[in-house]
């Protein structure tokens, strides 16, 4: 019964420097997994490249990274790119990006529901209601079942999950809200340490039902770092990234020893921020 399933949007945050076939696979694996549980319906995938203010070594301009992601998702009917995060002048915590997309989803959902429920003649009066106030809105067909709230889940690899343990990288209360209010879909290679990592963390353990672990059997280690390395050495990256992305990188000569040196010696934005914030220690 389609109405009983929870609608899910998968959000992937990261550098995407550049985007690779592996990033794109994460979405496919996550969607298949969630659908097979019978409880979820994945309605959208969002790629949100990080802003330049992240200051990661080798991070090239967000314009290029967003463009490449868009080229990569041209042939996808459900995964898209959102550049809101990359347009912010300061680095944003992942939780803030999750909240933003969640809010956006709720507003769209309420607007859709209002449009369904309101007869055209009464439109003027209904507009006085606060658009963001979320209350059950009865559909025209008077179904008594309230459609469950769509969820935005953070899609990631095991490296991101395990980065929760890096001192000063994440705020404890952020991690808590991510797993409690939103949820994680974590793709990892067979034989990884993710389950052990979750076991050793009280917060993650408490919310383990909201952490979906998906095992990837097809070893697919196409990291952006290796792609950039291959490019510096004049080696081919064909069939590891979408062809349109490869052509774009080639045309614009995006990656070089110089580009790899960008932000060298600088502290990563979250580390900078939390080091100066006395409340941040875990």
């Amino acid at each position: 019964e389609p109405d009983r399933k929870t609608e899910v949007v998968l959000l992937a945050c990261g550098s995407f420097n550049p985007i690779t076939n592996m990033h794109l696979r994460l979405f496919e694996l996550a969607k298949d997994y969630l659908h097979e549980t019978g409880k979820y319906k994945v309605i959208k995938g969002i790629i949100s490249p990080v802003g330049d203010a992240y200051k990661k070594k080798g991070l090239i301009s967000a314009n290029h990274r967003v463009t490449m992601a868009k080229l990569a998702t041209k042939n996808s009917d459900w995964v898209e790119v959102d550049d809101w995060e990359s347009c912010q002048s300061e680095w944003l915590e992942t939780l803030k990006v999750l909240r933003y997309h969640h809010q956006k989803l709720l507003s769209a959902d309420v607007t859709n529901s209002l449009q369904d429920a309101v007869p055209v003649a009464k439109l003027g009066r209904k507009r006085k209601q606060e658009p963001n106030r979320h209350e059950p809105v009865k559909k025209k067909n008077q179904s008594p079942v309230v459609k469950s709230v769509p969820q935005v889940k953070l899609l990631c690899g095991s490296d991101m999950l395990e980065s929760f343990g890096v001192p000063n990288l994440w705020k404890l209360e952020d991690i808590t809200e991510i797993v409690e209010k939103h949820g994680l879909v974590c793709i990892s290679r067979a034989g990884n340490n993710v389950q052990k990592f979750i076991y050793e963390s009280d917060i993650l353990w408490r919310h383990k039902n909201n952490i979906h672990l998906v095992e990837e059997w097809i070893t697919n280690d196409i990291s952006s770092t290796k792609i950039r390395r291959a490019l510096r050495r004049g080696q081919s990256i064909r069939y590891l990234v979408p062809e349109a992305v490869r052509a774009y990188i080639d045309r614009n000569r995006l990656y070089s020893p110089e580009s790899e040196d960008r932000n060298a010696g600088l502290l990563l934005a979250p580390l900078q921020k939390h080091a100066s914030d006395p409340r941040s220690s875990q």
Partner: protein, 269 residues
């Protein structure tokens, strides 16, 4: 300056279906040979095996060739050659090598003939032609698992392996974790010709086995970004992989094993 030796890479296999990993093998091999400074890879050939191979789950060559063609649409140097798949019987790998080498030789000789007929054209040619023209070499491109099959009893004839490594050469791509050089050392035959066996390490792991792809397809799981979109569309359009197609040749012996068994039949000796 000595000119580079032109090389053609030939990959034999089921290609059931062609995956991104198959195509990566070509790219890795080409990069490696170029970086030795001694070779210029001029062509890549994908040669899908004939239906007569008798492998479990092998779909019709018509489909496998069509899918390979679609996969290679964006490549300007790799092509699929259906010759092997069109033969009436299964063809030993060494025979496929010989066939393609003879074809390459003929093309080379006719080019030489034309060059000698019109000597003025050679001055505008590439670096290959400004020196003494060098005969092209044909090398077998494979993964490390292929190399390991040399020791499967009755799968290969000893003299075939010898001809492959002596006359042609191997370019063998292996995963970051494994190292086939030990396997080579343990074989007298392979050690003798190790100068003609090029080992290429694949550091970016990308082990997309066609078997896993077929399994995913049968379960209705996505294989997007593992094989080209055009191949996915073809498979859907023609309903190529099903539970039934997986049962093809079930219980049958592989053709090369079948052949070897008849030759060692004690009654015949």
């Amino acid at each position: 300056m000595r000119s580079r030796i032109p090389v053609i890479l030939l990959a034999c296999g089921s290609f059931n279906p062609t995956t991104n990993m198959h195509m990566r093998l070509f790219e890795l091999a080409r990069d490696h040979l170029h970086q030795t400074g001694r070779y210029q890879v001029i062509e890549g050939i994908m040669s899908p095996v004939s239906d007569k191979y008798g492998k479990k789950g092998l779909v019709s060559a018509r489909h496998r060739v069509a899918m390979a063609r679609l996969a290679l649409e964006t490549s300007d140097w790799i092509r699929v050659d259906p010759w092997e798949s069109e033969q009436d019987t299964w063809t030993e790998t060494v025979k496929v090598l010989r066939h393609h080498y003879n074809e390459a030789l003929r093309a080379f000789q006719s080019k030489e003939f034309m060059r000698n007929k019109h000597p003025t054209e050679s001055s505008t040619g590439d670096s290959l032609s400004c020196q003494q023209p060098v005969l092209p070499e044909l090398k077998l491109l494979c993964g490390a698992d292929f190399l390991q099959t040399f020791k499967t009893p009755n799968l290969w004839r000893e003299e075939d392996i010898k001809e492959i490594v002596e006359k042609f050469g191997l370019v063998c791509i292996s995963r970051a974790g494994s190292d086939p050089s030990q396997f080579i050392q343990e074989s007298d035959l392979l050690s003798e010709f190790q100068h003609n066996i090029f080992l290429v390490r694949e550091w970016i792991q990308n082990e997309i086995s066609a078997t896993q792809i077929r399994s995913a397809l049968c379960r209705g799981l996505s294989v997007k970004y593992l094989i080209p979109d055009s191949v996915i569309a073809y498979i859907a359009q023609h309903n190529v992989y099903t539970a039934e197609s997986e049962r093809t040749n079930q219980g049958h012996l592989l053709q090369p094993l079948r052949l070897q068994n008849t030759t060692v039949n004690p009654l015949r000796d």
